[in-house]
């Protein structure tokens, strides 16, 4: 076996066929994940056990198991039950894309809600008290004080999470999706040159990671105008 640099160069354009699907997966699941995360966060800090407990269980289960296993359970496992195949959710769960989005979003929801909770808890208690002492109501304090500060505190962790999500989209290839990794694996099956092809794929992922990091870096700088340098 030999190592063929030209093969890397040649295969990068071919791999880009899958980039659309990768980004599509990433975008959809971060957006849905964000919504789930907000709902979960509100449930957790609601102070009502019948809301907090389900939220905590959800977080516990999804953070405690590998995404790959979650994807397999959702994709291969759920149709074991007839009622699922007859339910309204079947059109989504029937398609591998739907399953991947469901798995990735649920995962993101669990992680991001913890990140946001960290941000909320990171807001200095003194600021709440100052708000109280000025007569601001609970929701006013949450909107005008907690939220903007928590967002800034959460950005670094959130940007890391988005990168983890990008990397997790690669697992979609295990349920027939032709995302970038799926395409790479198919090319390997034709050329029998895994080393070169996978490295080419890794290069593209690295570029995407860089773009995401950079974007968040700029956003954070904008949000941090008020922090002392």
């Amino acid at each position: 076996m030999s190592f063929d640099i030209m093969l890397i160069v040649d295969s990068i354009p071919k791999m880009l066929v899958g980039i659309g699907l990768t980004l599509h997966l990433l975008l959809l699941s971060t957006v849905i994940g964000l919504i789930l995360a907000i709902i979960t966060l509100l449930m957790r800090i609601s102070g009502r056990w019948y809301l907090a407990w389900p939220a905590m269980t959800y977080i516990y289960v999804f953070r405690g198991t590998p995404i790959l296993v979650q994807i397999f359970i959702i994709y291969y496992g759920l149709p074991q039950f007839d009622f699922i195949r007859e339910s309204f959710a079947w059109p989504v769960l029937r398609a591998p894309f739907g399953c991947a989005v469901v798995a990735l979003s649920l995962n993101a929801g669990a992680y991001v809600s913890e990140i946001m909770r960290g941000g909320v808890l990171g807001v200095d208690r003194g600021l709440h008290e100052a708000g109280k002492a000025l007569g601001l109501k609970v929701h006013q304090r949450f909107i005008y004080i907690t939220t903007p500060i928590a967002i800034r505190l959460a950005i670094p962790a959130y940007s890391n999470d988005c990168i983890s999500m990008l990397k997790a989209t690669a697992l979609a290839s295990t349920v027939t999706l032709m995302d970038m990794t799926g395409v790479a694996r198919t090319i390997v099956a034709q050329t029998f040159a895994p080393y070169e092809i996978f490295i080419a794929a890794a290069i593209i992922y690295l570029v995407l990671t860089w773009v995401i990091q950079r974007g968040f870096g700029l956003f954070e700088r904008r949000m941090s105008r008020y922090v002392k340098q």
């Binding site: 076996m1 291969y76 149709p79 195949r85 029937r94 398609a95 591998p96 295990t174 027939t176 032709m178 799926g182 694996r185 198919t186 390997v188 099956a189 034709q190 029998f192 040159a193 895994p194």
Partner: protein
């Protein structure tokens, strides 16, 4: 040349391709491929050690020296032969479509040629990097191909309606699916396909190139088990019918 007793050959196989190679509930490897590998090992006097490997990494792994032989129902094709060597075939290589009876698919014309219209937009499931993949890309390019990592998932998803049809090995499909309760509403569609151009001359043992001595010994062993009826015995262990067509001459 080598002393027989000292030699160990590592054999790559999928371990999930029932009933050709699979693991039973006791954790033991079973199946037609396994029987063939063991028989070959015995005849050439080598100890056999099995290595489980996902299908799409089978050839790369052989090339990367993860094991020495592939005995995994791998069809002998020209494309693969550019990378590795094959022994003589130890069974036929065929494919067939399977779909729900209710779909009434019309995939082939009366003369056996492909009916392109029938494939239009059809979601066909198959295993990544197989001969079926090559065949359908060439013969029915307007079908939508859905590639799986293992065959077992094919039946699950056919039943679940995620694909309209699958292309697979009919013997395996009969045993694993069509003869079972799950497969009740399904049947084969069209004839068995065995075009040598795509399916090769059959299924053989794969080896790294430049290993002619070993290749010769394997070939000799396969000839022996073909002639003495061992292959037929192996087949009948796993199938209720012979998988070797009458006209198939096998090795030699």
């Amino acid at each position: 040349p080598q002393t027989a007793s000292a030699e160990t050959l590592r054999v790559g196989t999928e371990c999930t391709y029932h009933p050709f190679n699979f693991r039973d509930a006791n954790g033991d490897l079973q199946g037609y491929d396994i029987d063939v590998a063991k028989a070959v090992g015995e005849l050439i006097g080598a100890k056999i050690e099995f290595v489980c490997q996902k299908w799409d990494g089978m050839i790369p792994s052989l090339l990367a020296n993860k094991f020495d032989l592939i005995v995994a129902s791998m069809s002998i094709t020209d494309k693969r032969k550019q990378k590795i060597d094959f022994s003589d075939p130890y069974r036929v290589s065929i494919g067939q479509f399977i779909a729900a009876k209710s779909k009434n698919l019309d995939l082939f014309n009366a003369d056996g040629s492909v009916n392109q219209a029938g494939f239009e937009g059809l979601r066909v499931g198959l295993q990544r990097a197989t001969t079926y993949d090559n065949w359908i890309q060439a013969k029915a390019p307007n079908a939508e191909i859905v590639r799986y990592d293992s065959t077992e998932a094919l039946y699950l998803d056919l039943k679940n309606g995620r694909v309209d049809a699958i292309m697979t090995n009919p013997m395996k499909a009969y045993l694993k699916f069509l003869s079972k309760e799950d497969g009740a509403g399904f049947s084969v569609v069209g004839p068995q396909i065995e075009e040598v151009e795509y399916f090769g001359i059959g299924v053989g043992v794969g080896l790294r190139k430049g290993n002619d001595a070993l290749l010769n010994r394997v070939n000799k062993a396969i000839q022996t088990i073909t002639k003495d009826g061992s292959l037929e015995t192996f087949a009948l262990k796993h199938f209720p019918f012979s998988i070797h067509p009458k006209k198939w001459k096998g090795a030699g």
